[in-house]
């Protein structure tokens, strides 16, 4: 096995994804190739409808492509059944959603505990680990409050804590700053970067927000259902159409 194989966290090759009926087909991904490495924070950018979210869903194992292969940390996802995909997500993935998706009737602590409880961890262990990460995201003392009592930035901090509490090797962030102002968005991305930085972890961020491009190690630009180019320096991107 080559050195490169060890460093690859996510690899999607020749992925096709269509929606709708054969007569009225919408092409979401067409021969899409994508690669993300361990230890990096990669952003997927592109105009609306270019297939970013679909590719993210394919990588997350919540959508199964019609063609192509998807490999996440050496595990081929395209051959797995629903139950195996669910188990894979449970163990390997953490999610930060655009609209936070924090359960309003649960406390901050309970929301953060969810991934650990889904894994079947004992309640006390889940509580202790959640407490520690809530402290890390700067919300110590707010554990027993409801998400609705927090600001947007604070809610996203809770979401980040929830995404990382079970220490997943792959963190998926879907437009994590779109609901936040510039400063808060910057702080959130700094937090994501600080907390998720690990030689074994890969962070994939889908975003429109060019203000946060500076946090990326690499940026993959999408166009018409495929990756059009990958750059190391955000300044090389033309952001006018994003």
């Amino acid at each position: 096995m080559s050195h490169l194989a060890h460093t690859v966290a996510v690899r999607a090759s020749g992925v096709d994804m269509f929606f709708g009926t054969p007569e009225n087909q919408v092409v979401a991904l067409q021969q899409a190739d994508f690669e993300a490495r361990r230890g990096e924070l990669i952003m997927l950018v592109g105009p609306s409808g270019c297939g970013k979210t679909t590719l993210l869903s394919v990588i997350a194992g919540t959508l199964t492509p019609q063609a192509g292969t998807v490999e996440v940390f050496g595990q081929r996802l395209d051959g797995l059944g629903q139950e195996e995909l669910t188990a894979f997500r449970r163990k390997h993935l953490g999610f930060v959603f655009q609209s936070f998706n924090l359960i309003p009737t649960l406390t901050v602590m309970e929301n953060v505990m969810v991934p650990l409880l889904i894994q079947g961890r004992p309640y006390d262990e889940a509580h202790a680990r959640s407490l520690a990460i809530i402290d890390k995201v700067g919300l110590k003392g707010r554990e027993e409050g409801r998400p609705n009592a927090l600001s947007g930035g604070q809610q996203q901090r809770v979401a980040i804590a929830r995404a990382l509490v079970h220490e997943p090797p792959l963190l998926i962030c879907d437009e994590p700053t779109s609901a936040l102002d510039k400063d808060t968005g910057g702080h959130i991305m700094q937090l994501v970067r600080d907390l998720s930085r690990s030689p074994e972890r890969c962070v994939v961020v889908v975003t429109h927000d060019h203000r946060i491009f500076r946090f990326a190690d690499r940026i993959a630009e999408m166009e018409d259902g495929r990756i059009s180019r990958v750059v190391d320096d955000p300044k090389l991107l033309d952001t006018t159409h994003l």
Binding site: T53, T62, A87, K91, I103, P115, L117, V206
Partner: protein, 396 residues
Amino acid sequence: MYRLALNMLFGDRAKLAMLLCGLAFSALLMAQQSSVFFGIMSWTYTPMVNIRAQVWVSDPMVEQVNDAKPLRDTDLGRVRSVDGVAWAAPLHTSFVQARMQDGNFKLITLVGIDADTFAGAPAVLTQGRIEDLRLPDTVIVDEWGAALMGRMTVGPDGKPRNTPLKVGDTFEVNDIQARIVGICKVRRAFTGGPFVYTTYDRAKGYTLGARRTLSFMLVEPQKGVTPAELCDRIERDTGLKAWTSDTVIWSWGERSLARNTFWWFWTNTGIPFSFGTAVLLGLFVGIAISGQTFYSFVLENLKYFAAIKAMGAGMGVIARMLFVQAFTAGLIGFGLGAGMAQGIGRVMIEKGMPPFVMYPQILWATFALVLGISFVSALIGIIKVSRVDAASVFRG
């Protein structure tokens, strides 16, 4: 996850309140209506409760205790001669008109018991002595009947009030005087009228013109002979019908006159249909309100369930979460509904109307039906969540 599932449920107080209202109302309706139904049905075999004897003998055509087909007095001798009979006493029951002091008429249930043994006499006398029935023209009236047969008088406050009959008061049956010498406490009957106890011979006098006045014979088996054995012997030797006095309607004993009476009313009247409809209504209302409310709760939390799915929770975990939520609501709803039914029952029992008998079986059946409602509600939610695509969480 189940603890969080419960916190999700309890966190939405408005939905929870609505859900509990639906389940509690449903449980209340089912338990209360069933208890009133069994209360009314228990009144159908009241004579079996008020008149205590181990074996009852009747005409072979009798189907239930309120349908006495008179026997000849000589049948008593035939029954007494059956091997295993310790004693046999006559019993007369009939509905007759009583003329009150104020000229008003009341329909009464006349019960004539053996003057020698007082077999079949009421167990509890609140006033008077049973032996006083041996005095001329005497009767004992039940407490509720005394009030029903009472007369309107003007109270000290100037308002009209009902004054119950008391010991010493008189009325007439077929122009023959009946003087009250005692007040007894007995269970009320489906057929309504007040119970008026007298001796068998005097009852014959009160029912002038009737050729046969022997309604039933009350029989006691000798030591070592079971009521069922004695029934067999009486039927074999006399051709009459013999019954046991077992009042447990859930039993399978075909010889139980109470049980036969219960099922006769079940099959020959519209009572079960009427109450059954109310119970079904409770069930459907429960399913409709609780199902709808729980579904709306699931709809409101759908995106969170989708997020939980995306995070790696299988449908098994989510289904169990929904079952925990629905069954917990069901349990609380049942508790509230059954508690209210008990409370209403207590008031009913105190007032005596309508009758109320809450068997443990009613509570168990109500509990099972409420859990059934919860199950259906959870199932509807599970179907909805199972159709949600985990990928939908990425669509904003």
